[in-house]
Symmetry: C2
Subunit: 318 residues, 2 copies
Amino acid sequence: MAFCHVDHELAPVRRVAIFGGTHGNELSGVLLVKHWLENSAEIQRVGMVVKPFLTNPRAVQKCARYIDCDLNRVFDTEHLSEQETEDMLYEVKRAQKINSIFGPKGSDDAFDLIFDLHNTTSNMGSTLILEDLNDDFTVQMFHYIKLALSPASCPVLLIDHSNLKYATTRSVAKHSVGVEVGPQSHGVVRADILDNMRRIIKHGLDFVELFNSGKEFPPCSIEVYKIQEKVDYPRNEAGEIVAFVHHHLQDQDWQALKPGDPVFLDLDGNVIVYDGDYTVYPTFVNEAAYYEKKQAFIKTVKVTLTAKCIRSSVLNQE
Amino acid sequence: MAFCHVDHELAPVRRVAIFGGTHGNELSGVLLVKHWLENSAEIQRVGMVVKPFLTNPRAVQKCARYIDCDLNRVFDTEHLSEQETEDMLYEVKRAQKINSIFGPKGSDDAFDLIFDLHNTTSNMGSTLILEDLNDDFTVQMFHYIKLALSPASCPVLLIDHSNLKYATTRSVAKHSVGVEVGPQSHGVVRADILDNMRRIIKHGLDFVELFNSGKEFPPCSIEVYKIQEKVDYPRNEAGEIVAFVHHHLQDQDWQALKPGDPVFLDLDGNVIVYDGDYTVYPTFVNEAAYYEKKQAFIKTVKVTLTAKCIRSSVLNQE
């Protein structure tokens, strides 16, 4: 039996947060976090503190994605260090507040792990979002969750990209997990989608508990979908959409899109095909919130990630 | 062969409008109406004028249901006769404008027929909404559309009810047709849903053309779902939802709900069952826009409507 080299020992993961309501109309996370704020027995584990937290309460109150701007895009140095003024955007204020509670981002004082709960109108199923391909701890956790949910599918989206990566709310922590479950209309709670999200959190917390208890996780590999490019809807000069997602692509998140396959359709029946020269795997297909971001879907490619053996550097003594 | 009694002759239907964007984030109608404003060949028919019209352009621009209040609830005498003031609600202003173009509601000058195009997040399929059970012309049209779409289903919701009927935008016309197609997330265009809506309009206009041409429509019967009661989500004292639609009811619009069947589920796993004493047929199940209206679904009962034989009182001479 192989043992982890001492170099692969990682700090234990003691302080964990679960964020809901980063987008106020993505209701599975809002309901789960509100529930856990009342009764947290379900999310407590030995050797760690797990804090449920509503990140954008005014947007939740209004059942809107955001009040002034997207909270999940403002955790960069510029916004986090912006001087407070009277007309500061609400979400920038919230970002600074969240950074002061769970960060500071990039510091030793930051929380060890944040799960951020999202919904999508796209047919993405139970998706995990990975920010850093070198984060062995999180890759090991995703491997664990995927196995636990099997044979149900649990795709991993890797957003590690020179200019498409965005400054997420969860990026405040040392390890960050995006949980993206769909399809669900914004402003709606579906029992099945809520249940799928809840399972992910259960298995994720179980993994952390095992890790803290000293369990060694041998090297593993997972298949991930690496973000490559975003694709906008065809628009006219006024910026209005003139073609929409073709029914052959609708709901086909994570399925192969080959050169020549239909992508868009206009009202006169004209079809626009995928003119790339290799197969890609679209996701976030026809997500409601991304019309304003000029994004009909994102192209991804399949990549295999390998994580080293990991174990906790300190056995759980609490 | 039986002929229509002269009493069943109805005025020809010359002036027809198709409304889109009454709710600015219900995009099938918005896209279709914008398309027909550019190119109306598809909706023109002999002997009639068909006018596509965007009813709530500011809400469309913002991709929101409405700006100040629900446009589809303010076509009552009180709002339509409200004195214009500076702080008048935007939708009340629009209602008066629409009433001046297509009405006045209840007058001889009003348009003969308005189709109003809506989407729902509920799994209602291609639904027609009937306001007046004595409107033989519209019942005959629905019978025609149902046959034309067969074997696909096309349920009819009858909202003729002493206190649940609401003052719709389309009620300005002598005959009004609500078209409600789902499931589709608000703020999203799905090719399949748009296509289903387009088929309804095609067959509806074909019917009017046939009617105006002098074709006689013999007596017919259709099954409709008559609105009976609305049901809210279970809420706590603060008004927050504490249980959501049970997965056995989710997506089951138009399916029998029997006494004792599960309806709601809370986060502790408690089930709330339907405690009525007869079978009902829920619809608008878990519609996003109805959370604020305190409505988880509406109960309907099945009723058979019969329309008399109809024919146009004037043969088409245009």
